[in-house]
């Protein structure tokens, strides 16, 4: 019998990969955004499987709940057109068209193979950690302590970054300054 962890991993993993493939291959940008939201929800499930409920919930609040709504607004307001299908191969145009696209698709496959090969050398040496680590990792208090003591400089820098990004976004998108 396979454990619940494995079932959830394969289930959420399959949903994530399928949704991401759909994002990359859909021609209508609205559908791409919706599939990406599905991918984020499946990723949140994977985070819960990894004993990180805070990260899972933050993923839903920040990514699926805010950034994707921003994308949806832009898609709706620009009335983003469907992409021109310039290939005689129809829906399979993503990989089978001329010259540069074929080369890029090949490069992506090479990237996957390289990453998997690089991983095998690293991971075979380490051991999985025990269940007491789970309680430490899933505690929001520990995350808070780490953010505000060890990583407090990054925290302050990030807040300045968000302010700059807000001002920048407003200035860039204005019709006249």
């Amino acid at each position: 019998m396979i454990s619940l962890d494995a079932i959830l991993f394969y289930l959420f993993g399959a949903v994530t990969v399928a949704s991401s493939l759909a994002v990359v291959t859909q021609r209508n940008p609205m559908h791409s955004v919706l599939f990406l939201i599905g991918s984020f929800l499946a990723l949140a499930g994977l985070y819960i499987n990894l004993d990180s409920p805070f990260t899972a919930v933050t993923q839903i609040i920040v990514y699926a709940g805010a950034i994707m709504v921003l994308f949806l607004f832009v898609v709706m307001l620009l009335n983003a057109p469907r992409e021109d299908v310039a290939s005689p191969y129809g829906p399979a145009y993503v990989t089978l068209t001329t010259g540069p696209r074929r080369a890029f698709a090949l490069l992506s496959v090479v990237l996957v193979v390289e990453l998997v090969l690089a991983m095998r050398q690293f991971v075979s040496a380490s051991q999985p950690s025990g269940p007491d680590a789970a309680a430490h990792v899933s505690s929001v208090r520990q995350i808070g302590i780490a953010i505000f003591t060890d990583y407090s400089l990054a925290f302050e820098a990030t807040s300045v970054l968000i302010l700059v990004a807000m001002v920048g976004a407003v200035v860039l998108a204005k019709k006249r300054l």
Binding site: I2, D5, A6, F9, Y10, G13, T16, S20, V23, V24, P29, S32, F40, L43, L46, Y47, N49, L50, D51, S52, T58, V62, Y63, I67, V74, V75, L78, A80, P81, E83, D84, V94, T95, R101, F104, S108, L111, V112, L115, V116, M119, V123, S126, P128, S129, A134, V137, S139, I143, I147, D150, Y151, A154, L161, A165, A169, V171, L172, A173, K175
Partner: protein, 101 residues
């Protein structure tokens, strides 16, 4: 078969490559930005899995910051797309060639 760190890293590698393929292959600026978000999420998954493996919260803290940076980058990227669209009425990267030699 218990999902070990290897499984999570393999999943993350696949997601990262899907994102990379999207950035290379798509001719619509919004879909390119979405593929960049896929890549960022693949990296998030790596950090959380590695953090869980080594029993520290540092993985999740880094993910917290990556999410914030991704939000800022998405906001500015979309503002740029709106400005570009207003200029040329098109979302295809092939149209914006005025800086080419």
């Amino acid at each position: 078969m218990e999902p070990t760190l290897t499984h999570y890293l393999a999943l993350s590698a696949v997601l990262f490559s899907i994102g990379t393929a999207g950035v290379f292959l798509r001719r619509n600026l919004i879909t390119v930005l979405l593929s960049i978000e896929i890549m960022l999420n693949a990296v998030n998954l790596t950090f959380v899995a590695a953090g869980r493996h080594f029993g520290t919260v540092d993985g999740q803290v880094i993910v917290f910051f990556v999410m914030t940076v991704a939000a800022a980058e998405a906001a500015v990227g979309l503002a740029l797309i709106i400005a570009l669209f207003r200029h040329k009425e098109s979302l295809s990267p092939d149209v914006f060639t005025s800086l080419k030699w």
